[in-house]
């Protein structure tokens, strides 16, 4: 017999779990179906930055609400997920970079946003005593920070299960069929569920799920590489980026350095893996050692890459499917989805349970990316 759910969520990453949790807390019967295991790809491979710094305006308001949720995350999932609001800093190494940062911060101020501020060399040195002296200044978000992705996965998973969500791992979805009342989900091993609504949170494979319901949404794949070092004494609290270079640099609770910043490996969606490219990671190592010369002799213990979907404009797709009533998309976070996890789940719950949301997702509509609708718009 086919079991019936109000919502079937495809994808057991953090966004899928968050949507399931918010839905179940609002009394929906929810099943999460995950092809491998919870957090197998991007959610388990993320640098876990909680960042509003340098956010695109199209998702900034959503991101600011998410940040407030991070500051009270224990009230949502019973754990702060290792979130430390020690700030995020984007460093300028030369006058050109500095004026770009200033222009951005001034632009934000003009529109009433005060979360980003400029800091001079003295404040920069106070926050980052071991920073190389060639750095001129930085933009800074005090309330940002970073969390522990594995703790976040555990917390969202157990909160979702405690809220009554059914979790099915090691089971891929193969087809979605429209029925009178909703959707029939067919998965590996001949398993089937019926659902009033579907959430597509399938990460790097979301385009394939969208295609099952007739949405042709062009997506690229990101394979962002990370490296982690041996443990060392605590010496840096904020997360550090550099204007004009690919770097995200921070120290975890374990004392390890976690270095990323969007350096790309070679993705392989069919084999569900990616190949690290050390020649590319060398750029990240160069940036890190340029900023913090004292880390030159620190040993790298592990390198990995996570797979996720990237859109043309680097903004995610969050909202209803243009072609398939009852299907809701949440994917394409393009390398910066971790911070948005609590708020996007809440947004999907709004949309599915009430048919609308007051949250600002206008810029995240799938139609902006779809050739069929782009033509309509231009004609």
């Amino acid at each position: 017999m086919t079991q019936a759910y109000d919502v079937v969520v495809i994808g057991g990453g953090l966004h899928g779990l968050s949507a399931a949790l918010h839905l179940a807390r609002r009394s929906a019967r929810v099943l999460v179906v995950e092809k491998h295991w919870v957090g197998r790809h991007a959610s388990g491979a993320t640098a876990a930055g909680v960042r509003t710094l340098n956010r695109d305006r199209g998702e900034l308001d959503l991101s600011l609400e998410a940040l407030d949720m991070w500051h009270a995350l224990a009230s949502l999932v019973g754990d702060d997920c290792g979130f430390h609001p020690n700030g995020q800093i984007c460093v300028a190494e030369n006058a050109g970079a500095l004026s770009k940062l200033e222009a951005r911060v001034n632009g934000l101020r003009a529109d009433g946003y005060t979360h980003e501020e400029m800091i001079g060399p003295a404040e920069l040195r106070r926050l980052l005593p071991e920073l190389s002296h060639h750095c001129l200044g930085a933009s800074y978000t005090r309330r940002d920070g970073a969390a522990d992705p594995h703790r976040a996965l555990r917390a969202f998973r157990s909160s979702a299960v405690d809220a009554g969500v059914t979790l099915v791992e090691h089971c891929g979805v193969n087809a979605l069929k429209k029925t009178g009342q909703g959707w029939l989900v067919s998965a590996d091993g001949g398993r089937e569920w019926s659902a009033g609504a579907i959430v597509n949170a399938a990460g790097a494979w979301s385009g394939r799920v969208a295609a099952m319901v007739g949405d042709d949404i062009p997506l690229a794949t990101k394979s962002s590489m990370m490296m982690v070092s041996e443990r060392l004494r605590p010496f840096i609290k904020p997360v550090v980026a550099i204007m004009g270079r690919s770097l995200s640099f921070k120290q975890s609770d374990q004392g390890t350095l976690v270095i990323g910043g969007g350096l790309q490996g070679i993705p392989d969606l069919d084999r569900e893996t990616s190949t690290a490219r050390m020649q590319v990671l060398a750029k990240g190592a160069r940036s890190a050692t340029d900023l913090f010369p004292s880390v030159r002799d620190i040993r790298i213990v592990r390198v990995w890459a996570g797979l996720e979907a990237k859109t043309d404009d680097m903004l995610p797709v969050v909202g209803p499917s243009p072609n398939a009533p009852g299907v809701f998309h949440a994917f394409g976070f393009s390398g910066h989805g971790f911070e948005l996890v609590p708020v996007v789940g809440a947004t999907l719950a709004d949309l599915i349970l009430t048919g609308k949301t007051s949250r600002p997702i206008q810029a995240l509509d799938a139609r902006r990316l779809m050739p069929a609708f782009a033509k309509e718009k231009s004609s």
Binding site: W37, V38, G39, G44, H150, L153, R154, L167, E169, H170, V228, S229, E230, Q254, L257, I259, T273, T275, A276, R277, M278, Q279, L281, A282, K283, A285, R286, S287, A288, T289, D290, V295, R296, D297, I298, R299, I300, V301, R302, V303, W304
Partner: protein, 465 residues
């Protein structure tokens, strides 16, 4: 400018040296990189300098035999870079290596992994105490710095290596406090089906019997049917406690405890490359799939020696030569006909060299407790996680090793799971009542050897100021 070479060989042990010699003879350019300061691998460590000495004599003829191969290797015309660690191999074959803090990428048409074996990690309570080491590590000290422990050593384990080491130690004037034999009772009964092989290869059996006789003459005490043991001490080993099957528990003072439970192929490189592997029930480990030339599931990546399944040094030499023929064939240096002809006598030789292996595997299975350590036993040494920690984490869903890594950090430390991989897999298999082959193994991430940020940064040529 990136250096290019026809064949890059990782490892200058029996397989790597043998392959290099034959590849050079076939006219291919060869670079051999190796972690040690001199050729020989583990079995013939430091053989060039030690073989002619008194230590060389007491290490025995098998050891000294290595100097001839090392000399031929030196004369082969292969480029040889010692004290060099390979930390990543990428498709197209780009081999990343470091020597003295300087990193470099080499492009190679074909790659031969001759990285040998590692001792099977054998956790027990107290195995992280100073004073506890492996028999292999103790033997390396004997070979490279002629070190004989000042205090009598306790030896725990089974297999040919402890026998050989104890015989060598006794010859070098060392003392064995006692040998706790952990091989399950009935070894000769398990060996019976292989009687024909034993008779055929009696020369090798006689060697082992000779070591046993030496130990008996030296008065080495052998305690059989040891079921479990613990190393006790505060900050360092003080006491060894052991339980004999049906014979009670004893405590004895101990300063040095050497353990060994056989060897397993080093699979970190082939796992990192995503080569196909299969589970060997006989040797309780993963073994890379290879074809008749030692080529893995990836075209242009070969394995020779114990890395392709444990078979010992002599077989490693032969497998190195066979891989060299396969590589030369693929490089167009040999016709298929010539390759088959050249391989024929080597294949016969290899069959003989491998003949005793099934008997040895049957006689010396690893003790069962290394795969089911007690809850208080540390299994991941880097992150100091116990078997109990892993069992608790195993209750959440039906996790495989990679999820356990994410749940607990097991396998995330500098050893990259070399010490805990099999233990974790066996614990999960037992908890989930499924075969260990199905549970799988950690995904292995680069770098395969610890690498500093400065070394990696030195590869960013665009960023050079």
């Amino acid at each position: 400018m990136m250096r290019e070479v026809d064949v890059l060989i990782v490892g200058a042990g029996p397989a790597g040296m043998s392959a290099a010699i034959r590849l050079r003879a076939a006219g291919l350019s060869v670079l051999v990189v190796d972690e040690q300061p001199a050729p020989g691998g583990q079995i013939w460590r430091a053989v060039e300098t030690v073989a002619p000495t008194t230590t060389g004599k007491l290490l025995g003829d098998e050891y000294r035999a290595g100097q001839h191969l090392a000399a031929a290797f030196r004369a082969s015309g292969a480029d040889y870079e010692p004290q060099t660690q390979v930390w990543q191999i990428e498709p197209g074959w780009h081999v990343y290596k470091s020597c003295a803090g300087q990193a470099e990428v080499i492009r190679a048409d074909q790659v031969l992994l001759a990285t040998g074996a590692q001792e099977r990690p054998a956790p027990f309570p107290g195995w992280t105490l100073p004073g506890v080491l492996t028999v292999g590590a103790a033997q390396i000290l004997l070979k490279t710095s002629q070190q004989v422990p000042a205090d009598p050593v306790w030896v725990v384990g089974s297999g040919p290596l402890p026998l050989l080491y104890m015989a060598q130690l006794v010859r070098a004037g060392g003392r064995v406090a006692g040998w706790l034999d952990t091989s399950p009772a009935g070894g000769w009964r398990r060996a019976m089906p292989y009687l024909g092989d034993v008779l055929q290869r009696f020369g090798e059996i006689r060697k082992g019997l000779g070591w046993l006789r030496e130990l008996k003459q030296a008065g080495v005490k052998r305690i059989r049917n040891v079921q479990s043991f613990r190393a006790l001490g505060d900050g360092k080993l003080k006491t060894l406690e052991y339980t004999v099957n049906g014979g009670g528990t004893r405590q004895v003072p101990a300063k040095v405890l050497l353990v060994h439970e056989g060897v397993v192929p080093s699979i970190h490189m082939t796992r990192a490359l995503d080569c196909a592997h299969h589970w060997s029930d006989q040797q309780a480990c993963l073994v890379p799939d290879v074809d008749e030339w030692g080529q893995t599931s990836l075209r242009g990546v070969y394995i020779a020696g114990d890395g392709a399944g444990i078979a010992g040094a002599n077989a490693a030499c032969t497998r190195g030569e066979l891989a060299a023929i396969g590589i030369a064939l693929q490089a167009g240096k040999l016709t298929a006909q010539r390759a088959v002809e050249q391989a024929l006598p080597l294949r016969e030789q290899l069959a003989g060299q491998q003949r005793l292996r099934p008997m040895l595997d049957a006689m010396y299975p690893p003790r069962a407790s290394i795969f089911a350590p007690s809850d208080d036993t540390i299994v991941c040494r880097c992150e100091e996680l116990t078997a109990g920690d892993i069992r608790r984490a195993a209750a959440l869903g039906q996790p495989g090793p990679n999820q356990i890594k994410s749940f607990t950090r097991a396998g995330m430390g500098p050893c990259q799971g070399r010490q805990c991989g099999y233990t974790i897999a066996h614990i999960l298999a037992a908890e989930q009542q499924r075969p260990v082959a199905q549970v799988g193994f950690y995904r292995i991430r680069p770098p395969l050897k610890p690498l500093t940020l400065g070394e990696l940064a030195s590869l960013d040529l665009d960023g050079e100021k």
